[in-house]
Symmetry: C2
Subunit: 338 residues, 2 copies
Amino acid sequence: MTPRRPRAATINDVAALAGVSIATASKALNGRGQVRDETRQRVLVAAEELSFQPNALARSLISGQTRTVGLLTSDSVGRFGIPVLLGAEDAFGAGEMSVMLCDARGDSIREQHHLRTLLARRVDGLIVVGESTDPRPSISRNLPLPVVYAYAPSDDPDDVSFVPDDVEGAKMAVQHLITLGRRRIAHVTGPTHYRAAQDRAEGTQAALAEAGLELVAGQPLFGVWSQRWGRQAAEIVLKHEVDAVMCGSDQIAAGFIEAARERGRRIPDDIAVVGYDNWEVLSAETRPPLTTIDMNLERLGRTAAQHLFAAIDGKATPGVHRMPCRLIIRESSLTGTV
Amino acid sequence: MTPRRPRAATINDVAALAGVSIATASKALNGRGQVRDETRQRVLVAAEELSFQPNALARSLISGQTRTVGLLTSDSVGRFGIPVLLGAEDAFGAGEMSVMLCDARGDSIREQHHLRTLLARRVDGLIVVGESTDPRPSISRNLPLPVVYAYAPSDDPDDVSFVPDDVEGAKMAVQHLITLGRRRIAHVTGPTHYRAAQDRAEGTQAALAEAGLELVAGQPLFGVWSQRWGRQAAEIVLKHEVDAVMCGSDQIAAGFIEAARERGRRIPDDIAVVGYDNWEVLSAETRPPLTTIDMNLERLGRTAAQHLFAAIDGKATPGVHRMPCRLIIRESSLTGTV
DNA sequence: TACGTTTCCGAAAACCTTTTCAGTGTGCTT
DNA sequence: AAGCACACTGAAAAGGTTTTCGGAAACGTA
């Protein structure tokens, strides 16, 4: 009934076809040991003939190495998780590693389940990708394999974590505004309970303090990560005299720009605007295009993967590593350019 | 130097600790065969003690089933690929399957390489996820395992493919406009060489024809999938008398709405607008929020996964299956509501 | 021819689990 | 007391590969 799928060829079949023992076949295929050239050729031809693929399971069973890593996403993979994940996948692909993707969807039961599965499959290591920069519970305690955390750091400082350096990122953005001669700067950002909002506010205020300036409105305007809040915040901010706004996200910036334009303010001539995240769909489509901070998440993912390799080789690098962001300059901050 | 990671416990260790043979230990753990209750308990306790995890590699080697599937993304995973991928991952997770993620980044060399790796790892099946609805080359010819294509169909009709039904989706959108009393409808969409643009144009015109109407401007306005094109297209469209616009994507719709508002047209009072994709970041943030077509991609991914299960069980379902879209009604098409 | 040296090849063990089948011991029946 | 059925347990094989080590053949030298 069901078309019997042909069992894949084994090294036994290859050896038989080549008229040698499996030991010789193995050595010929792996270029190991003493095998006469003529014999090696015979084996190679036989393998080709049968389109032989060595069974990775059997191989791993012996070597104790699966050349596989688990990618555990705690929250459902989203806007920030994806680039990290892609960066990691990229690095692993280059290292001939395969990636097992597990999405716990924010459910710790499911996370435990996936963890058990990955352990049973004897993965060589684990990357845990979070959805915000808030610290998350460690899973590495007494885990018999190396773990690296990306984007969301582990709450255990002995673990290896990689996070974007939001404080420096925000600082860079504000320094950019100050360099351009802006002095009356406001800060509109997300909810106070987000670590990202806190960090970006801190960086913003640090940059202002260094320049001997104060925040317009006295303190950051905390709200939510939405365009709507950006529009609402514009109403508040525009009551003050302001020549620049540092926004905690591109969404907020997009909303702010839209509302400010409607109220007749020219961007960037009257007010320079900087966003955060470099979410292309927004930052490239606002009018004018948005100057913003790019967290370089793909690189963060790649770096995390590379450090996982190192950890697998026994060279762990504990601690929370903050990865630099970069400033993407577009027209929302550049007066007099087109 | 490197802290020796303790070798994971084997069933041997468990058996020794419980004072039984490995055969008995195995039977006790799997609830198989005749084992005295007291003995079973001893084994269970020992396994717990050593936090024993049966080695999935050894298990798969015997059973010939890895309970693993490959998820091969041809183009770099993007906006459309992600939800499909998540849906598939979801379905597999429920079925206790693990997922190997491979991103070929649009490179067929890399795709071949990943394919070989997955074959070597003896995955039970494969899902190929594409980035557009254009047909892609089949990889399943003489492949010794079941393959299902999602979003981008295979060019071989004997393969199993799942794609969104864009023709019906567009038709649904236009019928919605007609039901609301709109009669002078334009269509602004993406590049002609996209299958998605073609299908949506076809559905649009079919719905109009059924109602005895004709497209304003005579034919669809093909352009690119961007907000900018939406704005440009508005200039063209507004030269005609128009009371509704069916857009080929939410991005185009967002651009159109913005430009139309600037020109003093009220949405939806003067012109009703419908988008496509239900890309929340846009469709929920335009003013007014956007009526749009949701392709239900997560469901598409889940369905593809379920059919892969079926194919693994020998019950393949060849052909290109078109999955229904759904209409998301928001305020950009609803006159007189708030 | 006898012996040592190379060169090449193959048998077998190891990795870990599941399953089959044979064996042991217990309690019961006659 | 012998025989039997039954409940339980363990030895061994299988799955595919790599590696180790011993053995065989070929060749050269004495």
